[in-house]
Point group: C3
Chain length 138, copies 3
């Protein structure tokens, strides 16, 4: 059993930009040399989320529209009393969650054919995001 | 430390069918021989989700009704421009997430008394789902 | 590779009380002696959730308001036919999820600066919650 951990950076425009991380996660899993185990993708931050979705232009619009329903730009967020303007981003981040864990077999994350690992950046401005990928196994 | 990984199939009718996986997850944990560790239940697909809930007929109806609020059948999904009709299922899958991780002790997942591991199949048609259970520990 | 598992209790008032678990999670990680690995925070129960958020008074109000949108107190829950009154709490728990997994490095959970691990207790009455923290690594 061993652990391999790497981080990489992603530049986003915020505003629910959806970034496909699947390729980079797969490369890190390969590089880890771990054949069988668990890959955890984690975003250290409170205004973005990590989940899985089919990365397809229509769905990117659909998820943006749905996010507006889950927490609207029109809501008055008490968080804005701190001087920030991204209360909605915090609420959506808590809703979606900051990580996914995927079983690894044959040195590959066992994702479905149409299932990609994505970062959803809910912040109100461009951000440089650090994403941590950890692979644990043998 | 060792890893035990198994997959099994579940037939569903889609349409937010809720399937209780707790028994099968528990059997796999027992079979793994692992006393203490982490059990991850993962669904490789983009139109269903894995979570925990009290598996009870009333709540099954309540979660279906709530899911209709989170992403409605009446919404026009851009995903349907691809020819598919299940944009809502993709959005709900991204919302709920594709996995849960449960600590194992004494060879049992440490779930609460009224807490079951469930698959929520949001697709618009019957599906055969593959569920991966991975147990890592000692 | 080794595993360290501890549980602790938290008293809440329910009604979407938000409890910051970050300090206790950090202590358990330190006590584990594990330098590099994965920390999983899990709540064995079906009427609360675990997620990450910036623990700040404004956001605590914002998340309560958002939760009311995700599952309203005014909805008639079929779960109440069992005699219970907390259908909404079950639905919100299934939505938010019962665990988070955080990479550990240098004996510390790799959370963002403004990212805290929190318990959201959705139940309709005061509860004593047991939270399990598991650290796996080397």
């Amino acid at each position: 059993m061993s652990i391999h951990q790497e981080a990489f950076s992603v530049s986003t425009q915020g505003n629910t930009e959806v970034v496909d991380l699947t390729g980079r996660v797969g490369e890190i899993v390969r590089r880890s040399g771990i054949l069988k185990g668990l890959a955890t993708v984690f975003m250290p931050g409170s205004t973005a989320g990590i989940t899985t979705i089919e990365f397809e232009p229509g769905l990117i619009q659909d998820i943006k529209k749905a996010a507006e329903k889950w927490a609207s730009k029109k809501t008055k967020y008490k968080h804005h009393l701190t001087g920030d303007d991204n209360g909605r981003a915090h609420v959506l981040s808590a809703l979606i969650g900051a990580s996914v864990s995927i079983p690894v077999e044959d040195r590959r994350p066992q994702l479905g054919t149409w299932q990609q690992v994505v970062l959803l950046d809910f912040d109100t401005r461009p951000r440089d995001r650090r994403v941590i990928v950890q692979v644990m196994g043998e």
